[in-house]
Symmetry: C2
Subunit: 316 residues, 2 copies
């Protein structure tokens, strides 16, 4: 398939073309940048939601429930799973895996598992590329599932407009002590497995913590759910929708989107530095210490000429 | 003071020139890059050790003890404190602060507190600059003290050759569950406050965890110490020295240094992107989404010309 034909099939919503395009971008095969640029221009404004939490919080079952809910409204749903404990990525119990199968044959659902290592541009860069491609292919809802334990995973979640943090009952203390980063990341908190003891207490603890947070305009709601029992799924989605409305009505969606664009640009530059775009002799000089890092950075970026014309071309 | 005079005074070991040079570099004042380049060339090979741990682990008291030990061997010691709970940065009890005073009048000790926010190039970039400047000024031991709770702090610790992780007694469970990042960062573990109950058990737990780790050539030792009682300080330093010997004898110091140089280069590039070097019109186009991030990165880095000549000039 030529590059042009691949782009055409992608924009027509062909799932195999989408899968292939993702691989081209992930592996930085020839034409990857053209492909992303074409997809970028063809974006239709997919809504993105990130689902994170510690392993065992029941994220995947919740994602499964959300897919079912969204499909009942005819949404096209793409799932990017970077959670090693997710059945989507294969690191789960057989039961979970079988349950997920029900969406595999549904053409309105596209699932992409991402390894948490091995991406040339980093995990967030790769995820961001998948979101752009899925958006261009006509998926109007993109769910990013990750496990919220490391900085790179938190960064991945930042690709999404709304972040849902899933907490199992009884996890309040751990949150207070060491998961402050996860706490700050959440736009919506879900106390999952609400049928287990301690769920109400955990929800109360979380609500108290949220109340302690600085006023930022948006106060993250705390929702009780049991994804196994299929309870509270609608409440979770209502909270996500409410957050989206808040972003749009407050104008924060524009500034948040421009901040995400800029962050992605910085990731793309870092990725390029790690691949072939930075001259090998410059990198060798940096590694050996012949040139100090700051001078080398100035040499790489120094002039900054020639860009204005291309920007005008693109704007036209 | 002219740029040339500042560099001359810095290389002569003048402490006020060092303090001034750090401010020039931190604030990106005119000539900052020339200053860093000159200091880079004048490096004498200072040994760097990072000390990290959770607040309350007794890091600062340990640093205080290490300064005393190193001064008794006539070493020139520079301390970079990025720990908000450290008495060096002023966030501590009066007693700690007074104790630290004993080193303030010692010309063989240089202390620099770093705010954890507000650095144009990020915390690790700023710390790296201070290390280069202190090295050029003749300090042969640089201690970097930070608090190991966030990714940026872990990154700061990566500036050092050897990382010492300080753990209070009874912290074993927390380590096992959520502090895996800190656990992976440690070249030497210190169970501090060894006079408190549970110290031996925590040391045993840590040793078991270290034994579970993948064989990497170096097995981090677990050392018991009480910095308050001034016990075990020599043992801590012996473990640091042992790690240095291992790095040198295995040749890992060369590859680790080149990896650190490359990481610093990437940080410097990111810093430049956030400041004036990236053309404003390009950044505006990225923010607004007129240009996709990957195309913009290619435009910024694309040509890569003109660098080879400068590298040759620097190598000569």
């Amino acid at each position: 398939m030529t590059d042009g034909a691949l782009i055409e099939s992608l924009l027509a919503g062909d799932r195999r073309a989408l899968a292939r395009a993702i691989s081209v971008v992930e592996d930085r095969r020839p034409g990857w940048r053209t492909l992303l640029a074409a997809a970028w221009k063809a974006r239709r404004g997919a809504a993105t939601v990130g689902i994170t939490g510690v392993p065992g919080a029941g994220k995947s079952t919740l994602v499964d429930g959300l897919i079912g809910l969204l499909r009942s409204t005819q949404s096209q749903v793409a799932v990017v799973a970077v959670d090693p404990s997710s059945p989507f990525t294969g690191g789960s119990l057989l039961g979970d895996r079988i349950r997920m199968q029900r969406h595999v044959s549904d053409p309105g659902v596209f699932v992409r598992s991402m390894a948490s290592r091995g991406h040339l541009g980093g995990l967030a860069d790769a995820t961001s590329g998948v979101v752009v491609l899925a958006d261009a292919a006509g998926f109007d809802q993109v769910i990013i599932e990750t496990v919220g334990v490391g900085q790179s995973e938190i960064e991945v979640i930042g690709v999404a407009e709304t972040t849902v943090v899933v907490i199992p009952p009884g996890w309040g203390d751990a949150v207070q002590t060491s998961k402050a980063g996860l706490l700050e990341a959440g736009d919506v908190f879900v106390v999952n497995k609400s049928d287990l003891p301690g769920a109400a207490e955990t929800a109360a603890d979380l609500t108290a913590m949220v109340d302690l947070g600085l006023p930022k305009g948006w106060k993250p709601p705390v929702v009780l759910a049991s994804s196994t029992l299929q309870q509270g799924i609608e409440d979770v989605w209502a909270a996500v929708a409410e957050h989206r409305s808040f972003l749009a009505s407050s104008g924060e969606d524009v500034s948040a989107r421009s901040a995400r664009n800029l962050a992605q640009f910085e990731r793309a530059v870092s990725a390029s530095l790690r691949s072939a775009l930075a001259p090998a002799d410059l990198l060798a000089a940096v590694r050996s210490g012949v040139i100090d890092p700051w001078t080398a950075a100035g040499m790489l970026l120094g002039s900054g000429t020639q860009t204005s014309r291309v920007i005008s071309d693109n704007s036209a």
